[in-house]
Amino acid sequence: MTSKTDTKTKPRKNALVMFIHKLGSPPWFYDFTGKLIPWFWALFIALTAWGLYLGLVKGPADYLQGESVRIIYLHVPAAWMSMLIYISMAVMGFIALVWRIRIVEILAMVSAPIGAAFTIVTLTAGSLWGRPTWGTYWVWDARLTSELVLLFLFLGVIGLYNSIDEPRKAARAACLLAIVGAVNLPIIHYSVKWWNTLHQGSSISLMGGSSIDSSILWPLLIMAFAAKFFYAANLLTRARVKLLEQDVRKAWVREVLREKK
C-alpha cells in the first residue's frame, strides 16, 4: 500500500483511516492479527467454560424436554453464526469487489468453510435434538430447510473458489456468487417458511410457545459470544495461512519465516 499522505492538504490522516489503510498491507496485517489471535482464543475458551458450566452443570433441565434441552447451547449459537457468517462474507465480498482489497477477498473466502462447518453443526445438533423432542431426526421444518439451503449456498461458494486456479480471480468470482446468494437468501428464507406453513401446518414450535427462562438465556448468550470469538480467531488464523501461501515468494514472508527459525 502506498501512503498518500503527501498529496493530501492535511499532513496527517484520521487515525482510524490510517489504521484501516495499514490493515490492507499483508505484513502489517500478519503482524497485527498475530497479536490478536491468542486473545481471541483465550476469550473463547474462558467464555465457553463459563457458559457450559452455567448451562450444563448449574442450569436446570427443562420440565418438558428434560436434559436434551442442553443441546440448545451448541445448536442455537451455531445457527446464529452460520447466518451471520454468510452475511459478513457477502458484505466482505462486496467490499472486495468494489475496492479490490486483497485481504478482504481472503477474509471473505476463508469465512466460507467456517460458515459451512457451523451450518453442519447446527443441522447435526438440531437433528440429534429433534429425535428426543420431536420423535424424528429430520422434519422439513422451515428453519431446518433454510439452514440446509444455506449449507448448499456455502458449498457453492467453496466449490467455485476451489475450482478456479488463479486465486484472485477465484476469490472475485466466489465473492460475486456470495452477493447473489445474499440477495436471494431472504427470498429463500421467506418462501421456505411460507411453503412449510402452506403444505403442512407447523405443529412443532421449537420453544413450545413460551419464552426462554433466564437460567437458559444467560448461558446461551455467553455461548453465542464465545462462538463469535471462535469465528474471529479461526478466521484470522486461516487468513494468515492463506496470505503466507499466496505471498510465499515475497520478501516479507521470507522475513517472517526467518524470524520463526
Partner: protein
C-alpha cells in the same frame, strides 16, 4: 465509454445478436433437442419408479414437471456462453463497446426461446402423462411461461462464473439449484392450489414480481461474472 465510436444503436445490437444466436441454434438442431428429450425421459421415469396410480401421479405432477424443468434448464445452460467463450467471440463482444449487460440479456433471451419455450410448449403432454387435472393445466403452463425465463436469468449468472472452467457443468448445478428454490416453491404451490380449487393468482403475482426483479438485476450480475471470468 471508449472514445472509439460504436456502430449501430443498442436495439440494433440486441436484435442482431438475438437473431444470430437463434440462427446458430437452429443450425445445430440435434443439440437443440437434447434438453427437450432429457425433459421427456426424466418425467417418464417417475411413473416407472413410483407406480402408475393416477391419484398419486396427479398429486406429484406439479413437483415432478417443475423439477424436470429445472434439470433440463441446467443441462442446457452450459451452451449459453460456452461456444462464444471458447472461440473468443465473447471477448470481441466485450471490446465492441456495447454494454455487456445488453449482450448478456440478448443471449439469455435467445437461450429461453431455445430451451425454455419448448418446456412450456411440451407441458400439456407432460401433464397428460402425469394425469394432471385439466383445470390446473392452464396454471401449469402459466407458471412455466413465467418461471422458466427466471431460470434462464439466474442461471446465466452461474454460467458466467463457471465459464472459464473446463468442467463447469457439475459445479453449475450446485451454484444455481439453491437459487431456484423459491421459484420451485411458488410455481408448484400455484399449480397445487389450482388443483385443490383454491385461488392461485397471488402465486402468479409473485412469479411476475420475480421475473421483473430478475430481468432487472440478473443481466448486470451475469455481465459482472463474465468480466471476472474473462479477466
Amino acid at each position: 465509454m471508449n472514445a472509439e465510436p460504436v456502430s449501430g444503436s443498442l436495439s440494433n445490437a440486441f436484435f442482431a445478436l438475438l437473431r444470430r444466436d437463434l440462427l446458430l441454434a437452429f443450425r445445430r438442431r440435434t443439440e437443440l433437442l437434447f434438453p427437450v428429450i432429457f425433459l421427456l425421459v426424466v418425467v417418464s421415469l417417475f411413473p416407472l419408479g413410483i407406480g402408475p396410480g393416477p391419484q398419486l401421479l396427479a398429486r406429484i405432477a406439479p413437483g415432478v414437471i417443475w423439477i424436470a424443468a429445472l434439470l433440463a434448464t441446467v443441462i442446457s445452460l452450459d451452451a449459453l456462453f460456452r461456444s462464444d467463450f471458447e472461440d473468443g467471440t465473447l471477448e470481441q463482444f466485450v471490446i465492441s463497446g456495447h454494454p455487456l449487460t445488453l449482450i448478456a440479456l440478448a443471449k439469455i433471451v435467445a437461450h429461453w426461446l431455445v430451451a425454455g419455450l419448448p418446456i412450456v410448449l411440451l407441458s400439456p403432454l407432460l401433464a397428460l402423462w402425469m394425469n394432471l387435472p385439466a383445470e390446473s393445466l392452464v396454471v401449469m403452463i402459466m407458471t412455466l411461461a413465467l418461471g422458466t425465463p427466471i431460470l434462464s436469468l439466474i442461471g446465466s449468472i452461474g454460467v458466467g462464473l463457471t465459464i472459464s472452467l473446463k468442467r463447469g457443468g457439475q459445479l453449475l448445478s450446485l451454484l444455481v439449484f439453491p437459487l431456484y428454490v423459491p421459484i420451485l416453491i411458488i410455481a408448484t404451490a400455484a399449480v397445487m392450489a389450482a388443483s385443490d380449487g383454491l385461488p392461485y393468482t397471488q402465486f402468479l403475482g409473485l412469479l411476475i414480481a420475480g421475473l421483473i426483479t430478475s430481468v432487472t438485476l440478473a443481466p448486470f450480475a451475469a455481465a459482472a461474472a463474465l468480466k471476472i471470468s474473462l479477466s
